[in-house]
């Protein structure tokens, strides 16, 4: 039987917009249960979420359209409950239950 702390998960919604939904089964909203901690036991943060999404949710082989050098690729904004992640601590932000995390691609057409 698994240790409670190992199997605990955080319920969140993850949204994709500006074309990124194409990489995730063409669905704009995903309700997921995120492991509460990483393998080292540290609370799940955005960096961990990004890795988790690449491994478990992405349906498209073109991971380079979402991550670059182990980080979110340039030209993608990350929003924590509709606020720029810069206001929340960026990759280090620790995810809370019922958070909404939005990934939106910067557009340039006109």
């Amino acid at each position: 039987m698994a240790d409670a702390s190992e199997s605990a998960t955080i319920p969140i919604t993850v949204d994709f917009s500006g074309g990124l939904e194409m990489l995730f089964d063409n669905k704009r909203r995903h309700s997921i249960s995120l492991p509460a901690t990483d393998v080292g036991g540290k609370p799940a943060n955005i960096a961990f979420l990004i890795d988790h999404l690449c491994r478990n949710l992405m349906k498209d082989p073109r991971a380079e359209l979402f991550v670059f050098d182990g980080h979110i690729r340039p030209g993608i904004l990350v929003l924590v409950n509709d606020a720029d992640w810069e206001l929340e601590g960026e990759e280090a932000y620790e995810i809370q239950p019922r958070d909404n995390i939005l990934f939106v691609s910067t557009l340039h057409g006109g």
Binding site: D15, G18, M22, L65, G75, V104, G109, G110
Partner: protein, 316 residues
């Protein structure tokens, strides 16, 4: 700047009466519009609807920059052009339409692409800049010039079924000031361009007319309110002022619009995202920035290079 002393002509009162009676607008707001100069960069899917409402509202001087000519494939969304003007420079075509709608403003055509060499000369002559362009290199160039020349910037973009809109650098603050709550520039919000491999143009990826149309009209709405209410004039120059009406300009909202071909407008069609203010380490507007007008004109930074690192491949 205000010119509130002159009277409105009978023709102006007749033409603008329906917006002048809107609470908060009045004769004062209308005179501010008439005394304003707006530059629309891009006469395409964003610029056409934006220009119609800018011209209609009676902005006194409307400059339009675009080096392209009208093509048939533009016309499903570029509603200020016409089939009979295919092959004509877009700025001439659009001004033809605008003059028909409202002959009172002065229309100034710039039938050229904006470049690091001509940008300062053109942008310096206007009160407010509208970014209606279609490529990241020009977007970073426009924002840098707006920082250096102290111009508010209303920026929008659109492709396929998505649109974005944000008001930047409003009210403008001198480059390098960071200890205070100042408005961000385009680079503060969008630090790095996406790799070219992840970018495509409307020509390659497609665009729904009403999506880019919504963004263009919304841009006109933001420009008109800024000029009519003088939101681009800081109440006390250089002061660290937190007056309520400006807070949401200094920490602006990025509006994103998502159009869905399979379902009606719904709760996620529009989202308002809270962005940060000026970034201390911003390359353009931050502390110790080395960006200068002379540098830009001489080719530094190199916008084309900045926006084209790895290989090219169409995808998102």
């Amino acid at each position: 700047q205000n010119g509130c002393s002159r009277q409105l002509t009978d023709d102006e009162v007749d033409r603008y009466s329906r917006q002048m009676i809107v609470p908060g607008m009045g004769k004062e707001g209308q005179l501010r519009l008439i005394n304003s100069r707006v530059l629309i960069i891009g006469a395409g899917g964003l610029g056409c609807p934006a220009a119609q409402y800018i011209a209609g509202a009676g902005i006194g001087t409307v400059g339009i920059v675009d080096g392209d000519v009208v093509e048939t494939s533009n016309l499903h969304r570029q509603v200020g052009h016409a089939t009979s003007r295919i092959g004509m420079k877009k700025v001439e075509s659009l001004i033809t339409h605008l003059r028909g709608l409202n002959p009172l403003p002065s229309y100034i055509p710039y039938p050229t692409h904006l470049t690091p060499q001509n940008a300062a000369e053109i942008i310096s002559q206007y009160d407010l800049i509208m970014d209606c362009t279609d490529n990241p290199a020009t977007r970073y160039l426009i924002s840098d010039m707006c920082v250096l020349l102290g111009k508010p910037l209303v920026s929008a973009a659109s492709i396929q079924k998505s649109g974005q809109l944000i008001v930047l650098n409003c009210p403008p603050t001198p480059q390098g000031l960071v200890d205070g709550n100042y408005a961000p520039c385009y680079r503060c919000c969008f630090r790095k361009p996406p790799p070219p491999s992840s970018m495509v143009s409307c020509g390659e990826a497609g665009i729904m007319g009403p999506v880019v149309g919504m963004m263009g009209v919304a841009q006109a709405g933001e420009a008109i309110k800024i000029l009519a209410s003088a939101l681009h004039i800081p109440p006390r120059p250089l002061a660290d002022d937190d007056a309520t009406p400006e807070r949401n300009l200094r920490q602006p909202t990025l509006l994103i619009y998502t159009y869905d071909l399979e379902s009606a407008v719904g709760p996620y069609s529009f989202r308002a995202l809270r962005m940060g203010g000026r970034r201390r380490n911003c390359f353009a507007c931050g502390e110790g920035s080395t960006l200068t007008l002379e540098g830009v004109q001489a080719g530094s930074p190199n916008y084309e290079q900045f926006c084209s690192m790895p290989t090219s491949r169409a995808s998102l």
